[in-house]
């Protein structure tokens, strides 16, 4: 497995979705290659940083309308 091949398999690896043979080659490569070790760590870090971001929110009008609808909803 080359570095160029490994970088395309990182998400599959992190999901535990590689077949056993490919996973073994992935792990073996990772143990010997600092570049790929750094890359995998950066993908992990990226996923963690993404987890800190809140996507765009509803407009204030929609939000207010929904709060009002919730308040007046017959129960």
């Amino acid at each position: 497995m080359t570095c160029e091949e490994l970088v395309e398999l990182v998400t599959a690896y992190l999901d535990g979705a590689l077949d056993p043979e490919t996973e073994q080659r992935f792990v073996e490569h990772l143990e010997l290659c600092d570049g790929c070790e750094i890359y995998v760590e950066q993908i992990r870090r990226t996923a963690a940083e993404v987890g800190q971001v809140e996507p765009e929110d509803l407009s204030a009008e929609t939000r207010d309308r929904l709060l009002e609808a919730f308040r007046s909803f017959p129960r």
């Binding site: 080359t2 570095c3 160029e4 091949e5 970088v7 395309e8 990182v10 998400t11 599959a12 999901d15 979705a17 290659c33 600092d34 570049g35 790929c36 750094i38 890359y39 950066q42 993908i43 870090r45 990226t46 996923a47 963690a48 940083e49 993404v50 987890g51 800190q52 971001v53 809140e54 996507p55 765009e56 929110d57 509803l58 407009s59 929609t62 939000r63 309308r65 929904l66 709060l67 609808a69 919730f70 308040r71 909803f73 129960r75």
Partner: protein, 217 residues
């Protein structure tokens, strides 16, 4: 406009508490869900319909359907999954009306490298496919200022992704759903889910690399 409303350390109530709150009309419960989930819902809706305004209406109609149906919620899935499924159904119907039925699967780019091939050694090299130069290590972001800048960089990168990548990335890395749940919700294959997620992460990683190293790679 990007908002950061996710406060670290805020405890989200359990489904039992949330469902009870919705049923009895507890405004604090609803406001909490509105803050916590609307962004993801909007993004999810936007992947089916053609405009942001239309996506807002989908989110609105979803919540109205939730008020209507919460009495029948049986807890077979999590509350959030139940709400997201309602949203996907509403969004699909609306997309059909708007005649915007782009199948998710047809748009997955595959076999396009996620890392610039120039960064790897060519076929004539002693180590073909090996890094020409290893990626630089990134600093930790202990300072608040740096952490904030990183978050803005990531947020902008996510916003710039194709909408389907945004949705999968949001569901996986922000909402914390597993691969199988995402496939079921979006009715896409495992392979497509992974391709979308990996492309999304690789692009955001590239932006972070540019931010940290100042290299216009």
């Amino acid at each position: 406009m990007l908002l950061y409303r996710r406060h670290v350390g805020v405890v989200v109530p359990t489904d039992d508490v949330l469902v009870a709150g919705l049923r009895t009309g507890d405004e604090e419960t609803f406001a909490c869900l509105l803050n916590g989930w609307s962004g993801s819902m909007l993004r999810l809706a936007r992947s089916f319909v053609s405009t942001t305004a239309s996506a807002e209406e989908v989110v609105q109609d979803t919540w109205l359907a939730v008020f209507e149906g919460i009495g029948r919620f049986e807890g077979r899935s999590s509350l959030r999954t139940w709400v997201y499924r309602i949203l996907v159904n509403i969004a699909r119907k609306r997309a059909t009306r708007e005649q915007r039925t782009v199948p998710w699967t047809s748009l997955v780019p595959d076999h396009v490298p996620t890392v610039d091939p120039q960064r790897f050694r060519g076929p004539g090299d002693q180590y073909p496919g090996g890094w020409r130069a290893f990626p630089d290590r990134w600093p930790t972001t202990e300072s608040e200022v740096l952490a904030h800048e990183v978050r803005s960089t990531v947020a902008a990168a996510v916003e710039s992704l194709p909408i389907r990548q945004q949705v999968v990335l949001t569901l996986r890395d922000i909402d914390g759903y597993g691969a199988e749940d995402v496939c079921a919700l979006l009715e896409i294959s495992m392979v497509n889910q992974r391709v979308l997620l990996h492309r999304a992460r690789a692009t955001v990683r590239g932006r972070l690399e540019r931010y940290f190293t100042g290299v216009d790679a």
